[in-house]
């Protein structure tokens, strides 16, 4: 728990909240930009707000997750910390919990701004379909869940890397691959995919089950156009996200426990 608190305080000390606050100023121009739409002003304000939240969370997840363990090793803090009576596994999990707590606070802050902007815009330009607030909150929540998984991957890459680049580019690659894995799988199953060799199809299928599937976490379209949510699919995705994150963290802790820290 103390590691988590130290991590959280470290993020605050690095002036990350000030950076988020300066980016959050963009929310002020969203109502004006949304008014450029011809037929969907509220929908555009939701699109812009949710995409901004998603983008900021992505940056935070990749950089905070990648930097923490690597910097500790680089600055030789780890040696001091590991003399304390805590295991390396708990140390990794503590770092993850600290970053996740900060991300959770950020998503509440940015989510609050999103709701305020959308409430303002929808009161000014009444949309054809009422804003589905539950879907908006669900979209923000699942954005957070996706970021937790990304932080998990960033921590995993940090646990094996001696440089800053592998965790950053590794997490970015996981993000891109995770976003496209469902499409690749759908293509393999489609009639066009039947022309592929059976070996390629089997490899694609195995990769689909191994790689994370981030498209399940994207509920932006439901929030923007007030499309109904499927409660069972949402519950399954939440379980999938939590289990996958837990597995990645266990792997990171196991690797870090055996790592040579010279």
């Amino acid at each position: 728990m103390s590691i988590a608190i130290v991590t959280f305080k470290g993020i605050i000390r690095d002036r990350v909240p000030q950076g988020i606050l300066s980016c959050a100023l963009i929310f002020l121009v969203i109502p004006a930009v949304s008014a450029l739409s011809m037929r969907q002003v509220t929908e555009l304000s939701l699109t812009l707000s949710l995409s901004l939240v998603s983008f900021l969370l992505l940056l935070l997840a990749i950089f905070l997750g990648s930097v923490s363990l690597w910097r500790d090793v680089e600055r030789r803090y780890t040696h001091g910390v590991l003399t304390l009576p805590i295991s390396r596994g708990r140390y990794v999990v503590g770092r993850f919990v600290g970053i996740s707590t900060f991300l959770f606070g950020t998503v509440i802050f940015l989510g609050g701004l999103t709701l305020a902007v959308v409430a303002f815009v929808s009161a000014t330009y009444v949309p054809e379909r009422a804003v589905a607030w539950t879907a908006v909150i669900a979209a923000l929540g699942f954005e957070m869940l996706q970021c937790l998984l990304l932080v998990g991957f960033a921590v995993l890459f940090s646990s094996v890397s001696t440089s800053f680049f592998l965790p950053v580019f590794g997490s970015l690659a996981v993000y891109l691959v995770g976003g496209a894995s469902q499409q690749a799988y759908d293509y393999v199953l489609s009639p066009a995919g039947q022309t592929l060799t059976p070996l390629v199809r089997q490899v694609a299928e195995v990769l689909y089950y191994i790689l994370p599937n981030f498209s399940a976490f994207d509920l932006k379209v439901n929030a923007i156009y007030a499309l109904p949510l499927d409660p069972s699919a949402i519950a399954l995705t939440a379980c999938y996200g939590l289990l996958y994150t837990a597995f990645v963290l266990i792997l990171a802790a196991a690797i870090y426990s055996r790592r040579e820290l010279g």
């Binding site: 450029l36 969907q40 949710l50 995409s51 499409q183 379209v221 923007i224």
Partner: protein
């Protein structure tokens, strides 16, 4: 500090000198370059999996601004003063709607440029039908498509289908009436009657109910005449010259009245029409006007 002043002023002056030509060069860029080449939507889906909606909104925003730049003068709003690259706009809007098939701005603008400016009626209608698969609650898409089929493409059967859908989604009596009319004009009078009777069952407003009842009555009269016309053809081997011949030759007991006050007649294709055009006339004499 003093040492930096002179270089800073020099750079600033050079920047100010450059600003005018630079701004003009940017403004005079060819439209194709301004609009830019939108990558294949499949590539964008893979590269930016989380940001498809914002990409689509950005692309459509670009097209709208580009279109706005073609109509420069405020004293003649809407007048196109530069040549518009409609194929480029169409391609761009299509790409954006592949990224976000729910974006209403894309369909609205697509309809405006494709149907009205580029005269690509079928392409516009296809785009709207693609939108209907996604925006299943939106009556505007079938309304636009119905209009294209009726007004531009003269496909009354498709127009009727689209207006039926717009009527179901909006509950608007106007669309239901239009759907009934286009069904009757496309030679599907019995279907128009069935459709209007279904609408009648769900109608609560007394004025709408009355309006539907009158229309059903008129179409039932049309159906009687059509059936008599077909019997005439099969017996005599030729089409009747006028509606009155059906009564004279005993295929109808009496000519059914038009509840709108008009007179039924055959057009050159032997389709049954009425001088009332299935609407109550505002002046009492106009219904007597000959076709």
């Amino acid at each position: 500090m003093k040492g930096y002043f002179a270089p800073a002023v020099c750079v600033l002056l050079a920047y100010l000198v450059l600003l005018g030509p630079f701004t003009r060069a940017m403004a005079q860029k060819p439209f194709e370059e301004k609009l830019g080449l939108v990558p294949n939507p499949k590539v964008l889906q893979v590269l930016l999996p989380d940001y498809q909606e914002v990409m689509a909104a950005s692309i459509i925003g670009k097209v709208i601004l580009y279109y706005g730049s073609l109509t420069g003068h405020l004293d003649q709003p809407g007048k196109i003063i530069y040549a518009a690259d409609y194929p480029a706009m169409s391609r761009t809007v299509h790409a954006a709607l592949r990224l976000d098939p729910y974006n209403m701005d894309g369909y609205y603008f697509g309809q405006a440029i494709l149907a009205w400016d580029a005269r690509q009626y079928q392409l516009a209608s296809d785009l709207l039908e693609y939108g209907m698969q996604h925006r299943t609650w939106d009556w505007q898409l079938p309304f636009f498509a119905g209009f294209n089929y009726a007004y531009f493409l003269s496909d009354k059967e498709k127009a009727a289908q689209m207006y039926m859908r717009a009527g179901e989604l909006s509950g608007s009596a106007l669309f239901n009436k239009l759907a009934g009319r286009y069904l009757q004009e496309s030679g599907q009078t019995q279907m128009a009657i069935d459709y209007l009777q279904t609408m009648l069952k769900g109608a609560h407003n007394p004025a709408v109910k009355k309006s539907l009842q009158v229309r059903i009555e008129a179409f039932q009269a049309v159906l009687l005449i059509e059936q008599a016309r077909d019997r005439y053809k099969s017996v005599k081997g030729r089409a009747p010259g006028a509606v009155e011949e059906l009564v004279v030759d005993g295929f109808l007991d009496t000519l059914p009245p038009d509840p709108y006050g008009g007179r039924f007649y055959f057009d050159k294709n032997q389709q049954v029409h009425t001088t009332s055009k299935f609407a109550f006339s505002s002046s009492p004499d106009s219904s007597d006007s000959t076709p």
